[in-house]
C-alpha cells in the first residue's frame, strides 16, 4: 500500500471521528468505527467521492479494516484521538484493541486544517452529513447507549453490507467489479428521485431518510 493511501485512510478515519463528535453521536467503539467506515465507503459515490478501495474482513464483531486499525493507532499515538476502556483484542492475525474513541481538541484542529482543501472539505461534509443523518434518525432516544444500539442496527442493515454478508467468504466486498454502483448508492438514488417529487431536499435529507428506512427494517426483522 502506497504511503499516500495510508494518509488518505488516516484522514478518512479522523474526519469520521470528528464528524461523529460534531453530530453529537455517542463515542465510537472499534466495532462501530469499522461499520461506519463500511457504510461510508458504500455510500461515498452518492457524493461523487471515490471510496478507498479496501476490503473489509469478516469478523464476529462485524467488518474489519486492517488499515483502519493502523490509522487509529497512529491517531491515538499522535494525540489526535483519545481512547477509553482500552483492552487488547485477541486476534489471530493482527494486534487489535478495543475501546471507545473520540477526537481530542488537537484532532479537531488538525481536521479543520485538512478541511481547508477542496477534497478535504468535500469529504468532511459528506461524513458529517452521514453522521448528522444518524443523529436525526436516533434523536428520539434520550439514552446514549440506546442511541448507539439503534445506530449499530442501522449500520448492520445497510444494503451493501447485507449483500456482502450474504455471500460466503472471508472478505466483505463493497461491490462486484462489474458493478457501477453499490446497493447503497442505488438505494439513495431511488430515495432522492422520490423526494425530488415532493420538495427541495439536500443529500443529507436523503441519507437520513435512507437510515430511517434501515432502522424500520431492522425493527421488523427483530
Amino acid at each position: 500500500m502506497a504511503d499516500h493511501d495510508r494518509l488518505f485512510f488516516t484522514r478518512w478515519v479522523l474526519f469520521l471521528l470528528v464528524a461523529n463528535e460534531a453530530s453529537g453521536l455517542p463515542k465510537v467503539s472499534r466495532e462501530r468505527l469499522h461499520a461506519l467506515l463500511f457504510m461510508s465507503f458504500a455510500s461515498s459515490r452518492y457524493y461523487a467521492i471515490e471510496p478507498l478501495r479496501q476490503r473489509a474482513r469478516r469478523t464476529p464483531q462485524g467488518p474489519y479494516y486492517r488499515q483502519a486499525h493502523v490509522a487509529l493507532g497512529g491517531l491515538v499515538l499522535g494525540g489526535m484521538v483519545s481512547v477509553e476502556d482500552f483492552k487488547a483484542h485477541p486476534a489471530a492475525r493482527d494486534l487489535q484493541f478495543e475501546g471507545l474513541f473520540r477526537p481530542t481538541m488537537k484532532g479537531v484542529e488538525v481536521a479543520r486544517v485538512m478541511r481547508e482543501t477542496i477534497t478535504g472539505g468535500r469529504l468532511y461534509r459528506f461524513l458529517l452529513d452521514m453522521c448528522l443523518a444518524a443523529a436525526a434518525v436516533t434523536e428520539h432516544v434520550e439514552v446514549g447507549e440506546q442511541a448507539a444500539g439503534e445506530l449499530d442496527r442501522i449500520l448492520d442493515a445497510d444494503l451493501t453490507y447485507r449483500r456482502a454478508v450474504a455471500r460466503f467468504g472471508d472478505s466483505l466486498e463493497l461491490q462486484d467489479s462489474s458493478d457501477a454502483r453499490t446497493p447503497t448508492v442505488e438505494g439513495l438514488s431511488t430515495i432522492q428521485e422520490r423526494l425530488d417529487m415532493q420538495g427541495a431536499y439536500n443529500r443529507k435529507d436523503v441519507v437520513a431518510a435512507y437510515q430511517a428506512l434501515l432502522l424500520r427494517r431492522s425493527a421488523m426483522v427483530a
Binding site: 481530542t104 442505488e186 431511488t190 415532493q198 420538495g199 427541495a200 443529500r203 437520513a208
Partner: protein, 390 residues
C-alpha cells in the same frame, strides 16, 4: 430483489411511501444550520409560552445566549470557559418557561450545555459576546419577554454587530405564497438591510470603512444566509432550503423555496421558486462582471424545477461605478424565462477620504493636472489620519 439471507437489496414501493413525512433538515453551513435551530427553538418556545407572555409573566431580565461550538465537550475548556463555570445538560425540547442563561451547543442541539444560569441584562449578554467571542463565532441573544431574537453569523465584526445587531423578525405569515410575493420580500430585504452601508446586514457583508469597496470573503454565501433566514421568518408554510450541493462551486449560492399549491394553481401539488445569487465586486473588469451575470442567468435556468413558477438571478452590485447595468443581458434572461433582478449596494467609505478625493479632483481640474495621481495621494492621507485618530 431478495438476497440469499432473505433481506431486500432494493427499496420497495411501500417503503418509498413512508417518505411522505420526510422534512428537510436545516441547510447551509454548520453555523447557519445552528442559527436555524435557534430560530426553530425560539418559535416553539414562543408557542409553548404564549399564556405567560400574554400575561407579562416573563421578566425582562430573562435573557438567553446560545453560542455555537462544533464540539462543545472539547472546545469549552479551550475556548468558552469565560462564558460560565457550569456545565449542565440543556434539554432543548423542554421549552421551559424560565429558560435563560448561556447555552453552548453543537449544531443540532444534541450536545447542548448550560454554562451560566442567568444573565443580568441585555448589556450583560452584549458584554459577554464582545469580550469573549470572536468575529467567526455564531451566536444568538434572545430577550424572551420582548419576543426579540438577535443573531450573529461568522465573519461580521462583533463590535459593529453590537452597535446595530441583526434581528430575527418573526412574521410567519399564512398568506398565500407566490413568486411575486417572494420577489417582493427579496426587494424589501435589500431595501431595509443591505442597500445602504449603514444598514444592519450591510455591515456584516462589507469589510468596513477602512477598506472601502472590499467585501468579506464569500459574499454570495453571506447574503444567501441572511436572505434565507429572512425568508424563513416570513412565512409559516414556506419550505426553504439552501442548496448545499453547490456550496463552494464557483461562487454559486442558491436558495430554493417550495410551498403547497392552492387548489386550482397551475403547479400541483407544490410550487417552487429558485433564486440564484450573484455579487458584483469592485476590482473586476466589465467583461468579468458580464460573464458572471451571464453564468447566473444560465445557472438559474438550469436550476428550474418542473414546478417552478419562476426562477431568478439576483445580482447584488457592490461595484464602485454602478452606471453600466448591462441592460442587454435582460434580453438573454427574458429569452431563457429567467427574471433578472438588480440590487445596488452602497459601499462603506470613509467620508473624510471621499471629501478629500472630491476636493483634489476639483483642484486638479482647476490647475489642469492629471487627477489620477493626486486623488490617490489625497485619499490616502486623510485615511491614515483617521486610522491614527482611532
Amino acid at each position: 430483489m431478495t438476497s440469499s439471507d432473505g433481506t431486500e437489496n432494493n427499496i420497495s414501493e411501500a417503503e418509498l411511501q413512508t417518505l411522505q413525512s420526510v422534512e428537510a433538515a436545516p441547510s447551509g453551513e454548520p453555523a447557519l444550520r445552528f442559527i436555524q435551530r435557534c430560530q426553530e427553538w425560539f418559535e416553539k418556545w414562543l408557542e409553548a409560552n404564549k399564556h405567560p407572555l400574554d400575561a407579562n409573566a416573563i421578566p425582562a431580565t430573562q435573557i438567553l445566549l446560545f453560542v455555537f461550538s462544533e464540539t462543545p465537550d472539547l472546545e469549552r475548556p479551550a475556548r468558552f470557559s469565560a462564558l460560565g463555570t457550569e456545565y449542565k445538560r440543556f434539554f432543548a425540547g423542554a421549552h421551559a418557561q424560565d429558560t435563560q442563561g448561556v447555552i453552548l451547543s453543537n449544531e443540532n442541539f444534541v450536545k447542548a450545555y448550560r454554562l451560566r444560569t442567568s444573565l443580568v441584562s441585555m448589556e450583560d449578554a452584549f458584554d459577554l459576546v464582545s469580550s469573549h467571542l470572536e468575529d467567526d463565532d455564531a451566536f444568538v441573544i434572545a430577550q424572551l419577554s420582548q419576543r426579540r431574537m438577535l443573531y450573529h453569523l461568522p465573519g461580521g465584526r462583533i463590535d459593529d454587530w453590537c452597535a446595530d445587531p441583526v434581528s430575527y423578525e418573526s412574521r410567519l405569515s399564512e398568506d398565500p405564497l407566490s413568486a411575486d410575493r417572494i420577489e417582493a420580500d427579496v426587494f424589501e430585504f435589500h431595501e431595509n438591510s443591505l442597500k445602504f452601508a449603514k444598514n444592519q446586514i450591510a455591515k456584516m457583508v462589507w469589510v468596513g470603512k477602512d477598506q472601502p469597496y472590499k467585501l468579506l470573503p464569500s459574499p454570495e454565501q453571506r447574503i444567501q444566509s441572511y436572505l434565507f433566514l429572512y425568508l424563513n421568518a416570513s412565512y409559516k408554510h414556506l419550505k426553504g432550503t439552501v442548496d448545499e450541493e453547490v456550496v463552494g462551486k464557483g461562487g454559486r449560492a442558491d436558495i430554493r423555496v417550495v410551498w403547497n399549491s392552492l387548489p386550482g394553481a397551475p403547479y400541483q401539488p407544490l410550487t417552487s421558486t429558485m433564486l440564484e445569487l450573484k455579487v458584483l465586486a469592485e476590482g473586476r473588469g466589465l467583461t468579468y462582471h458580464r460573464d458572471w451575470v451571464t453564468s447566473g442567468i444560465k445557472q438559474a435556468d438550469d436550476y428550474r424545477r418542473r414546478d417552478s413558477e419562476a426562477v431568478y438571478t439576483c445580482v447584488f452590485d457592490g461595484r464602485k461605478d454602478q452606471t453600466d447595468q448591462m441592460p442587454d443581458l435582460d434580453v438573454l434572461a427574458t429569452n431563457k424565462n429567467v427574471r433578472l433582478r438588480r440590487y445596488l449596494m452602497e459601499a462603506p467609505v470613509n467620508s473624510a477620504a471621499v471629501a478629500a478625493t472630491k476636493a483634489a479632483k476639483s483642484s486638479a481640474k482647476q490647475i489642469g493636472v492629471k487627477s489620477k495621481k493626486i486623488t490617490k495621494k489625497a485619499a490616502k492621507k486623510p485615511a491614515k489620519k483617521a486610522a491614527a485618530a482611532k
